[in-house]
Symmetry: C2
Subunit: 227 residues, 2 copies
Amino acid sequence: MPTKSVKRTEGRARLNRERVLRTAVEVADEEGLEKLSMRRLGEGLGVEAMSLYNHVSNKEDLLNGMIDALYGEIELPSHDDDWKTALRKRSVSVREVLLRHPWANGLMDSATSPGPGTLRHHDRVLGTFRNGGFSLAMTAHAFSALDSYVYGYAKQERALPFDNKEQAAAMATGMLVQLPASDYPYLHELMAKHVLQPGYNYADEFSFGLDLVLDALERARDAERAG
Amino acid sequence: MPTKSVKRTEGRARLNRERVLRTAVEVADEEGLEKLSMRRLGEGLGVEAMSLYNHVSNKEDLLNGMIDALYGEIELPSHDDDWKTALRKRSVSVREVLLRHPWANGLMDSATSPGPGTLRHHDRVLGTFRNGGFSLAMTAHAFSALDSYVYGYAKQERALPFDNKEQAAAMATGMLVQLPASDYPYLHELMAKHVLQPGYNYADEFSFGLDLVLDALERARDAERAG
DNA sequence: ACCTGAACACCGTTCAAGT
DNA sequence: ACCTGAACACCGTTCAAGT
């Protein structure tokens, strides 16, 4: 009896949307978003650029699909944790995903229509607030405030011109020369007396702000209930 | 006695870096960043694209310069206000500037070296915290948390696929069909019972989160002092 | 149904040549 | 010193043609 043939040209899997998106993410991770052209992506898949148009309608569709695929990597808020713990974990996960795929954050600005992965993620976050005792109006406030902070932090972190502590120290020392105390006294002070001191790590600022926002949201929820 | 001639070809001012940057910002505002090519910019200045390379070293330098120019539009924190008022006003100003130049926020991610306008702005913000009684460590925390929120909010706001309330309502009604309550119950609820209700405006969420962060920073400052 | 080669209308940037 | 024309090595996308 006939079965579906698994034989493909040169053993290469047949092209499909998922494989196109996955390879696109890999190329962007390894070579940067600016190197991700339809021709380069085709090359990575052993195919001509024009074949891609059978699986994505254009480059914008490709980029939207890549973003939606990333939402699948983010840890959804767990039903087993209380709202604050659940959202803390998922916020840490958002940051990790954006560190792993540094090209993604800037792309979200222009991403037009959210895909199913994106919608599912947002739905679960909203549900976590609702089940944590937040009113509908307070949930809207809280969702906006929390995600503004989380994505904004990832953006600031990415804008830093170094990837690790050693580079940061070298960079900061170099910058200090460019930052005369006469022109920029407070930047100079912060660099010399804090950022360049042993033990400082910008990455640690994430937790401070995250707890600041989560604790403040809890207070806002309680104030509304009391009021 | 000879004076400098003011006569220019066709009365056009002589090209210089400032004029190049200003025109580039205008083109990006009016036609979008993706339309801002060296050829298009040259056209806007009545000059061939290649002439621009006498005033910017390449496109990256152009984009960095545009970002730095925008910092000049942001209202610096005033010395006459208390720290919270001063930073509230400047945060509102940041958001207004990013609404006026929607292409800028995404660009800041990749902006490599900060220009003098950027440094001056950051120095004044840091100084406002310091003079408001924040320790050096708490100033680093506060600076990171506040700007993460402000830039993150602008980013979320920009990601919304509509520009005003009417469009938002039309869009949301259309989306509601795409958001079956069975798949996305909380998104559905938020849309139907809150976002689509008369009087709701996403723009209002900015103030809530901004005050949330500023008030929380004040508490953190006071807790550190007391501790 | 899926893939391709050639073509179109663009890019950023270089370089030698003009003034 | 500043501006330009031609050229190079790229883009995203279309379309008719192949299988």
